[in-house]
Amino acid sequence: MSEQIVSLRNSAGHALHCMFELPPPGAPKTDLGCVLLSPGVKMRVAPHRLYRKLAAEFLERGIAVMRVDFHGLGDSEGDLPEQQLDQLYRQVQLGRHVDDARTALRWLQREHGLKRFVIGGLCGGALTGLLASEVDESVVALYAIGIPVVLDASGQHESQNMTQGQLRDMRGTYLSKLMNPSAWLRLLSFKSDFRSILRSLFPKLGAGAKGKTVSDTRVPPPESATAANLNPKYAPAMFGLLQRNRSALLIFSGADRLQFEYQEKFVAPWRAALEKFASLLTVEVIPQANHVLGDPAWMAQARVLTGRWLDERFK
């Protein structure tokens, strides 16, 4: 084990405590590095130490890995003002931690001479990696597991922004409860979420407002209306990445709403435009998996997909 504790300071002066690992002796030499960024509030190890497990795929290919704690999270300095998680996630989705990511990139360039980077991680870590790619030319690829395309804390009822995939799943769940007395008791005692039930049975009822037009020269005109809660930073950053000829691996979990949101809120409106970048964009779905890949079989699949992509793109 060759991990090294690295403490950096971001532009605001907060100490960021990170873990850096060099490849084992005998691994191929490369100027490529990997930066894995905090997912949500789960710090640099990620749920069930996911990042430590995934790092192995990079290290055995000679790619050094840095795992980063964002300011205000993990062991790092700083204080985040939000009391609610959705408000905190919203700030992550708007790019709060891009400077933290760049701080890590600069250190790796300066101290280890690395020139090119794969950046990302799980959920908010993936999105921060995407947003960092807009402002840092050294990012050559996005590595994204369960990347969110919507903005949290939109102020609307959850059911209004549900995808057709989510509604289909929910409809199936409600229908399976038809013979369940306790479910009926819950319904008749007004404890059920009636808005969600109605929305799942009548998907066109109460749908959220349509989104505003994305006014960014990098983003092609959408073929259909965009969702009201689509993160306005997502499409510009993703098209920007692809237009700069950067590649991306997007891994989604089959049982995760983020997969439906990606398909329905990003791919559907820009299907034709995205086809032009098919050679750069690798999208994989791990069937049945949950958001954090909390089963060894799902984890193993994620490792295989990661290794295959690294070999195809960087060997």
Binding site: R9, V41, M43, L73, Q288, G294, P296
Partner: protein, 279 residues
């Protein structure tokens, strides 16, 4: 290190190889009145709680205590895979953390502060390092390890429901499978037979040797509860230096809609009790 100003808090590794522990040192901001070693909760509960531990360590350091936080092996940035770790490795790790704190701050006056299963680990570690550990405080103590293990398994059953549409193995079947050598996964963490046996044996109320010195147990009330629960009162009746407290702290050790970065009730009670110990 690219720091423009020196770090007040210091991340370190203790030991190397399979023995390696990741630790974080928070030196007292003023003349030290004591030393705290923190014992974290188990598995994903640790991750959800992490920022609360960081904040407590910083506040305790401001209040004049040296604080050492560390990751037990199998968790965080310490050595070993989770499935290789046991309750015994966690107790050994706590003893090593106590020794490191003693060496670092030249003290024989350590107080252990543990959370949930980490509190049980702290209580047992105290009995093995009695000359170095003056007292122990536990946030939301887990009195019955067997019952706690059953709660962990509920998450596995939820996953069964989500992936198979039904629960095919209930608690007893899962425990039997574990004892037969299967690693049963909960939220990505593999539960082994060694872990099951170790956790199930942590029955705090039935271990005579525990809490013979100064101790504080802070319970989280359930429902309308407004006094410490019966098992804790029974425990305290035979331990004159055991103090009980009740704090309606939100469950920051699991996913809620809140971003928990401070446990105000636990912190206030613990610092007040520490002040009483040191005066």
């Amino acid at each position: 290190m690219s720091a423009a100003r020196p770090l007040i808090e210091e991340p370190v590794f203790l030991g190397s190889g399979d023995e390696r522990l990741f630790a974080f040192l928070h030196p007292a901001a003023q003349a030290a009145r004591g030393t705290i070693v923190m014992c974290h909760a188990f598995a994903e509960e640790k991750l959800w709680s992490h920022r609360v531990y960081v904040t407590f360590a910083r506040e305790a350091a401001q209040a004049g205590f040296n604080v050492l936080r560390f990751d037990m092996r199998g968790e965080g940035d310490s050595a070993l895979d989770f499935e290789q770790s046991t309750i015994e490795t966690r107790i050994e790790d706590t003893l090593r953390a106590i020794a490191a704190a003693k060496n670092r701050w030249s003290t024989h006056d350590v107080v252990l502060v543990g959370h949930r299963l980490g509190g049980s680990i702290a209580a047992v570690a105290q009995t093995r390092a009695a000359s170095d550990v003056r007292a122990v405080a536990i946030w939301d103590p887990i009195l019955d390890g067997e019952d706690y293990f059953g709660q962990l398994l509920r998450s596995n059953m939820t996953t069964q429901m989500a992936t198979q549409g039904k629960v095919t193995r209930m608690r007893d079947a899962l425990i039997k499978a574990i004892l037969d050598g299967e690693v049963v996964v909960v939220d990505g963490y593999g539960l082994t037979a060694d872990l099951y046996r170790g956790i199930a044996a942590l029955r705090l109320a039935q271990r005579e040797e525990l809490f013979q010195g100064p101790a504080l147990l802070i319970e989280v009330p359930k429902g309308e509860q407004n006094a410490p629960s019966e098992p804790l009162r029974v425990l305290a009746s035979t331990r004159p230096r055991l103090q009980l407290a009740l704090e309606a702290e939100p469950p920051f050790w699991r996913e809620t809609k809140q971003f928990h970065k401070r446990a105000g009730g636990f912190t206030a009670d613990t610092l007040e009790w520490l002040n009483g110990l040191t005066t």
